[in-house]
Point group: C2
Chain length 463, copies 2
Amino acid sequence: MSELSNDLILFNELVEVLLNEEENHPVAKRIDSNILYDTIDLSLNKSAMVDDSFKKVLKEVLISTPKTATNLFFNQLFGGRQSKAVLGDLLAVLLNNSMYTYKVAGPQVGIEQEIIRQSCDLIGYGSQSNGTFPTGGSMSNYMALIMARDAKDPSCRENGMTKPLIMYTSKASHYSNAKNASFAGLGRNNVRYIKADSTGKMIPADLEKQIKIDIENNLVPTFVNVTAGTTVLGAFDPIDEVATITEKYNIWLHVDGAYCGSVIFSDAKRHLLKGMEKSDSFSYNAHKMIGTPMTCSLILVKDKKHLHDSFSNDADYLYQTDGDDFNLGKTSFQCGRRNDALKFWTLWKSIGTNGIEKIVDNQFDLADVARNYIENHPDYTTYSYEDSISVCFNYKNIDPKVLCTLLYEHQVTVVGFGDFNEDTFVRFVTINATNTKEDILNFFKVLENFVEENQHVLETAAC
Amino acid sequence: MSELSNDLILFNELVEVLLNEEENHPVAKRIDSNILYDTIDLSLNKSAMVDDSFKKVLKEVLISTPKTATNLFFNQLFGGRQSKAVLGDLLAVLLNNSMYTYKVAGPQVGIEQEIIRQSCDLIGYGSQSNGTFPTGGSMSNYMALIMARDAKDPSCRENGMTKPLIMYTSKASHYSNAKNASFAGLGRNNVRYIKADSTGKMIPADLEKQIKIDIENNLVPTFVNVTAGTTVLGAFDPIDEVATITEKYNIWLHVDGAYCGSVIFSDAKRHLLKGMEKSDSFSYNAHKMIGTPMTCSLILVKDKKHLHDSFSNDADYLYQTDGDDFNLGKTSFQCGRRNDALKFWTLWKSIGTNGIEKIVDNQFDLADVARNYIENHPDYTTYSYEDSISVCFNYKNIDPKVLCTLLYEHQVTVVGFGDFNEDTFVRFVTINATNTKEDILNFFKVLENFVEENQHVLETAAC
């Protein structure tokens, strides 16, 4: 029997261990970071290990690795596990294609392009649109910024930054905007943070006011980022109103839908993205709302010429057969690139667009269940708004930082906190579409029981 | 039985199909890109598919996807399949952690850090060194360039590019250098392409000459990229001699070891990297020489302060427990980040550093077998040099572009061509360490038989 066959048997055995653990202990056995290296032998040594020892340490690693697929994980903007997407990603590991050329990726190129084409159709982009799969939401935003920069200052690609370019984003937007300004040569001081209203949405009037000031100062407004699902509150910026402004001043409009751009699939919720077809670029992460394994991020552009202008490069040693439309390295940041498309395709192909829609809609339904619960229980203070899958709250005025840390340290449930304006609160995210209404209500029960049983610890910790 | 259990059964069934195909047809059934969408139903539709139809189309996709793990694939700077690394990556798909915090990655953080620490030790970096796992070799080079830029022009991060920064790389280096200059705001015209000698190595004297000219013109030399394994010839730039120059002029020295930096593991070949400990940053791709699934790329820096200076960002909603040393998002380009470390760790842990060394050494041995063969057969012209795993040649003066394309179209073997100076030739890469001496000799036999049997086609095509 080949080594690979043996290792596939071992894989199946370890998956069984993992799935049993997830069922019996939905929160992983936590090892304090201070004692990590003393607790598991993670060391790499000169000599090979005997198979049994290797298996033993690998099991320990599995058991103590945080479990992101269970019904007690609510800490991040991803969670759960869509089975057909897992299947696709497991196959991608075995196939191991690099997505730069048709010669070495073959039909995987078509798989990627089909997803991109359908996504562009859902946005309402026209026949000139296209896209690619960056390595995550931050990179999607970055690629959009680079395209905007190069469109406004076309000599930049060859001669470097010459104009004082300015970008705009809501103060509630993702931190990658600040980092990206630095990476692209604009500088963090040239990011204007636009005010958000009380529900976390960008205020268009403040945007226009800021643009006017910059123009008066001979600065060059270049890029506006609106967010479809802000990181903390899950708010949707008003794309349509912002688009009126970006069209007026000829500024690139990017929709950062990393968190909630997947509502393009939802007949019920698509209105939250009204005006999206007026944007120049749009990104969404299928590894967030759609539940594929990490990472599965798309950047889509209304006019594919910008992808080519900013990212193409000739390379005779690489592009040797087939046309540019099939050699995807011409539109990517990277050279070698993992196949992040197959997992999305296996899921979408098997359950259909309607099935994806149900995944998305279910998260809003679960959020309504959660919001309804806390709004009807006087011990909770609510900081969450309609049409958001971030259900933010405080419980019995307990410091949310203390509460979340204790829940984590006691392996009760995994959830984080967030800030908005002057408030800090628990951010409970209903992004795991495989959860049921009961799972959501169970979370609150688990939380309340923990507080009940640990009054003393909470009081001590809060001091 | 759960849906996931069913899909794992399907996975095992499909892997068996795939492995049988690889054995019986080492080159995949090729579909011309022009008829791809008419040949396989890649379309995504509203409705779900019944399981049997889904399975059928998925099998078709598998069978016609280019096979990168077989003994007739020599087209890229990766190939083959290290079984224990496959195991690790399959588990990473199921675990699905994001590497930004200890709270959601737990011991996977330690796994990543142990690989980084051991790699830094092999390079000879001191106690202040650290690193991260970027998404590939291009991104590794990009992160190095950003750190160099920010070190030379510290206000750049806040205020944008203000100085005329210049970077240097050999004309034989990877094309990401030009793209990265554009992305970082330097501009492609501010890349100086340094001459290479007849074996493809950077000529240090030409580098110093160019630096002096730039200084005289009030430009600011900022970044020198040397390559450990150039893309076409697989040549090693003379790091030690270049380091003398970068130290003299206070310029950041980066070693792009994407292709062959893994020789840090080889007692026999480490001398090719003489002086590497004098560099500021060093990258290598374990998915190339070490044979993990894509992607597994490392950037290592002698002084970790530069990683923090260029890539850290506070984010209260994210960093809530444990210290910076365990919250790896503070030193990465991305926010959410796939676990690319586990696959390397499972391989390294199980076979030991000595086992990794054997993987690396075997590629040089196989290259010697290939070079010895062509040098002793008068029908071959050799364009390959000692200590390179790119064995470049022409056969019977046949146009290599024509030959490689026909071999691909006839599904004989998959190999590409390259250029250096005025010459174009077949670039045969012995990077698949699971190949044997017989596999290498078989390639030449297959090639020669094809030419013998297709004289007419070759003559027609060459006209």
